[in-house]
Symmetry: C2
Subunit: 218 residues, 2 copies
């Protein structure tokens, strides 16, 4: 499915700044988020499903799709729009088989070798990074930087024209434009939205930075 | 689906006595296990799916079904026969909807109130306990004992004749018979098999104790 990656908000109970996840989803959607991912590494399955349903309901008025990190079971039970999988999550072929062709499936990529190997026929997008240093996730590898992002984007450009990649990690309104200039179709953000005093305003600022950089690229 | 609970072996990478889970599954099936559950609270999703596939292949020659604890996604991806869900796992109605009517679905029950509330039309069996003290799982509640098991079995007997319940926690060849005498259809075992020097022999001994008690009940 075509997917709008311009402002891809990840919401996570461990990085929610004290807000409920449905509230946070609504705020970022109000501010212009184009895609939301629920990432929950701590809750029981039943609570995950309930949260996913509540977030899906919060996003419905905005027409913003919801993806679930890793958990195909939660996505299926809650009627989410797809999943984002990492390299140690379910294999893309299994996720596609279980979710069907209309689901959105994205995969994390942090090296050129993984970009070359990525099963793009099974995917709708890739998340590329960590581009910058982040506080939201323990980074085992050094950030790839804008140059690393550019190399990976070029692999996908060569493999399939128009296949979209989203820049992830440490992205703010100040540095988002550089990732778009390097070829990203959008930015994926946790802290810059969730920990902002006003997540809707933070989303508007990020979305404006992305839109401006996309316009400059054309 | 009708399910044979006589000797229900739970295999868990945290309690495997240094053996691979497919090896352990094969050994307990050789010794007479009638059902196997893969319970993995630590691995990444991809590794869980790979392990579930390998265990399923190890059990295939014995015709012993494989259930996955909690993870409907892993069960679906690996082609397992169903799931075992706890009270904080996916709701039975969601699990049944995702897995279909031919899957085996079991639910953990440790009180009479939960037994009264259990959605038995959606379930194939219940796991009742912890009956005795166990080392394989952190027990937040005191063991219910054989008398607690008997009270819960009576609830299910009243609600639906023949609906099977399996006794779980701390069960050995020495105390298995008492759980069957109290009305359990079988016993669910981790340590008594996985940590035995010879899991196949331990399974044979447990299965003999169960079969003897079932025969005495008739």
């Amino acid at each position: 499915m075509p997917v709008d990656l311009r402002l891809y908000a990840i919401i996570d109970p461990e990085h929610a700044g004290g807000r409920s996840l449905p509230d946070l989803a609504r705020l970022v959607a109000e501010g212009g988020a184009t895609l939301v991912q629920l990432r929950d590494k701590v809750s029981d399955t039943r609570a995950m499903v309930e949260t996913a349903r509540a977030v899906k309901a919060a996003l419905a008025p905005f027409g913003v799709p919801l993806l679930v990190n890793d958990r195909v079971d939660v996505a299926l039970a809650a009627g989410a729009d797809g999943v984002h999988i990492g390299q140690t999550d379910m294999a893309a072929e299994d996720a596609r088989r279980l979710l069907g062709r209309n689901a959105i499936i994205g995969l994390s990529i942090n090296t050129v070798a993984l970009a070359e190997a990525a099963p793009i026929a099974l995917l709708d997008y890739v998340g590329i990074g960590g581009v910058y240093a982040t506080m939201s996730k323990q980074q085992k590898k050094a950030p790839i930087g804008v140059e690393g992002l550019r190399h990976i984007v070029e692999v996908f450009r060569r493999r399939k024209a128009g296949f979209p990649g989203c820049a992830i990690a440490g992205i703010t309104a100040a540095n988002a434009g550089a990732t778009i200039a390097a070829g990203a179709a959008g930015v994926s953000v946790i802290s810059a939205l969730a920990l902002a005093p006003d997540p809707a305003a933070a989303a508007r600022a990020l979305r404006a930075a992305v839109d401006q950089a996309l316009a400059a690229r054309r």
